[in-house]
């Protein structure tokens, strides 16, 4: 399988270490110069950005968490003036305020490169027809994948909001050879295909790229066997910059992290201390080249572990195993991250009071995954008329669906059989 950027992806370890320390220092210098949030946090630790001389010094720098993005809404974490920003992304945040991230012209080029790399590693070429099927909550990734796929000159069918049936029709009629989607959406499309009595061989599909959530090994093999495709996993960040941070190569022994642009660390989610080499923990990322929206030690909430040894594919980028389950309360539905707190705040806004009792769960059905929210039918929702109540429930449901970018079903209960808030 070809390598998109041999110079960068196969750089020897020693040169990589130098490149990372150079880029890390200039990133820290820029962040502390341009972003008051980071400057203050360095100050709180009694340190100056210049004191980071190696990776163990970096451990003294405080983490950045999703909460900080909400706190600094909208532009507080930008490291360049707005006139240099060419694209502003909105992603669901932890609170009612969304997460805002920006890209400069050069940032966009970096993302094209990252996605181009990841696609090339999956064998995607200019002769492929590439279809992107993602839920609205991951619309940002749709754009980045489109740009990256265009960079390697594949024919792109960009993200369009269509029913699964229509997506399937396009896949068959347009002769899609590469599909980028989340594992759950892929499973649904597969089920739909068999329900419609379509033979997978009528599709031109040969490559399935799974994004948004760590797929269980069983899903991998099921999709490969039943759809006659090869699956590849890409790892990305949904709130900020984008997809293709780490990707599988043809060896498919873990995901290569694009270390020339990101510095990965793995820490114990409880203590924040680095875990021993090879053990699992929470992935923490620091951007090395990002201009508009640098992240210093960002806690991703994703559970990973480093894989040792050199990869036979020739890339020297370190590999991680991406494990299902997260280290925080975030739920992942169809690749879209939804935060517990965000749902509560939305409910509070919709109902007028914070719900006293509730239960939130992710439901998997054959043709669709959705978020189910049980609420206590108390005086805040209750009405004499069934019609009124139905209207209220529907209103809350559609508001949440809109805000979260994933389908939400609201159910009411009279007698509480679930835990209290």
């Amino acid at each position: 399988m070809p390598i998109w950027n041999t110079g960068e992806e196969c750089l020897d370890r020693e040169a990589r270490a130098q490149q990372q320390i150079e880029r890390l220092q200039s990133t820290l210098n820029r962040a502390s110069k341009n972003v008051p949030f980071y400057r203050n946090r360095f100050g709180l630790q009694g340190m100056d950005s210049l004191e980071v001389e190696n990776l163990s010094d970096l451990r003294r720098v405080p983490f950045t968490e999703r909460q900080h993005m909400s706190d600094n809404y909208p532009y507080g974490l930008f490291a360049v003036p707005l006139r240099d920003v060419v694209r502003i992304h909105t992603a669901p945040g932890m609170t009612l305020k969304p997460t805002v991230s920006g890209y400069t012209k050069s940032d966009l080029l970096v993302w094209r490169e990252l996605v181009g790399r990841a696609l090339t590693a999956a064998g995607v070429t200019s002769s492929d027809i590439l279809q992107i099927v993602l839920y609205p909550g991951l619309a940002n990734w749709g754009r980045d994948y489109k740009d990256g796929a265009e960079a390697i000159e594949a024919s792109v069918i960009p993200l369009t909001v269509l029913t699964p049936e229509k997506q399937l029709m396009i896949m068959r009629d347009y002769r899609t050879s590469v599909l980028i989607t989340s594992p759950s959406a892929a499973t649904q499309l597969m089920n739909l295909l068999f329900r419609a009595n379509l033979n997978p061989n009528t599709l031109a599909l040969k490559t399935l790229i799974l994004v948004g959530q760590a797929p269980a090994a069983s899903i991998h093999s099921q999709l490969e066997e039943r759809l006659h495709v090869k699956t590849w996993v890409h790892y990305g960040l949904s709130e900020v910059p984008g997809p293709g941070v780490a990707f599988e190569c043809e060896e498919r022994q873990g995901l290569h992290v694009s270390e020339d642009h990101f510095l990965p660390e793995i820490v114990d989610p409880k203590t924040g201390e680095p875990v021993p080499e090879g053990e699992e923990g929470e992935l923490v990322l620091t951007t090395l080249t990002t201009r508009a929206f640098p992240l210093i030690r960002f806690r991703t909430g994703d559970r990973v572990r480093f894989l040792g040894g050199a990869c036979p594919c020739g890339r020297t980028l370190r590999r991680i195993a991406w494990l299902p389950d997260r280290t925080d309360e975030t739920m992942v539905i169809r690749g879209v991250k939804v935060h517990h707190r965000q749902i509560l705040l939305l409910l509070e806004r919709a109902i007028g009071v914070m719900p006293k009792m509730y239960r939130i769960s992710v439901k998997h059905e054959e043709l669709r995954d959705y978020l189910e929210v049980w609420l206590l039918a108390d005086e805040s929702i209750f009405s004499d008329e069934i019609k009124e109540m139905e209207k209220v429930v529907q209103g809350i449901g559609s508001e949440l669906t809109q805000e979260l970018g994933v389908p939400v079903t609201i159910r009411l209960r009279e007698k509480p059989s679930f835990h209290e808030n």
């Binding site: 040169a15 130098q18 490149q19 150079e22 200039s26 110069k33 012209k105 050069s106 080029l109 201009r291």
Partner: protein, 247 residues
Amino acid sequence: MLRIRNLKCYYGRIRAISGVSLSVRSGELIALIGANGAGKTTLLHTVCGLLSQWEGEINFDKKSLSGRKPQEIVRRGISLVPEGRLLFPPMSVLDNLKLGAYVRYRQRQHQDAAEDLETVLNLFPVLRERSKQAAGTLSGGEQQMLAIGRALMARPRLLLLDEPSMGLAPFLVRLIMDILVQLKGEGITILLVEQNARAALQVADRGYVLENGRVVLDGPAGDLLADQDVKRAYLGKDYREFYDGRD
């Protein structure tokens, strides 16, 4: 080839460079840009061994340059074209060039040095024409060529240049930059310090932007050239671009 980590340089108690990491790979042309007082010249002088008060690591070909004397560093293959050329004005062009091979004459490599003199004179035909003339009578551009030629006489593998475009007319700046590209083609690795960011980035592979003794930006030269921050800070004074395309 050259690998600098966490370099801090001091003039007495004043810190001129605060933790710079920078690398030059074999065959690369690297531009180091920044405003006055950013620490560019200090960095070059430190690499050459002219400044001894520093901390951090400087490795050339994986060997530390710590505590090495300038002449030893020249022997290892690093030459400097200093800011303001620093020629010997009353001496002839030829003698100025020969002085560049000083350490090699000491090692009795007369034959090799004579060959290199031929190469340099072929590279700069104008210097051959004026070989008997006193260096002080040359024009600015010719003096700069002489300074580069003199540095080449030490047969460096890494050539350091400090503001070679200073005081030169635009067409001469281009000429000098073209010569650097030519030298790079001949296998010489180059670290170029410039205030003329545009000229330097146009020929460089990668660049570093130095500000108050720290690197605030680094990347492929093409990216830096297009970078808004760099444009504002270092390319801003060239108004030509504003008028380009208006007529």
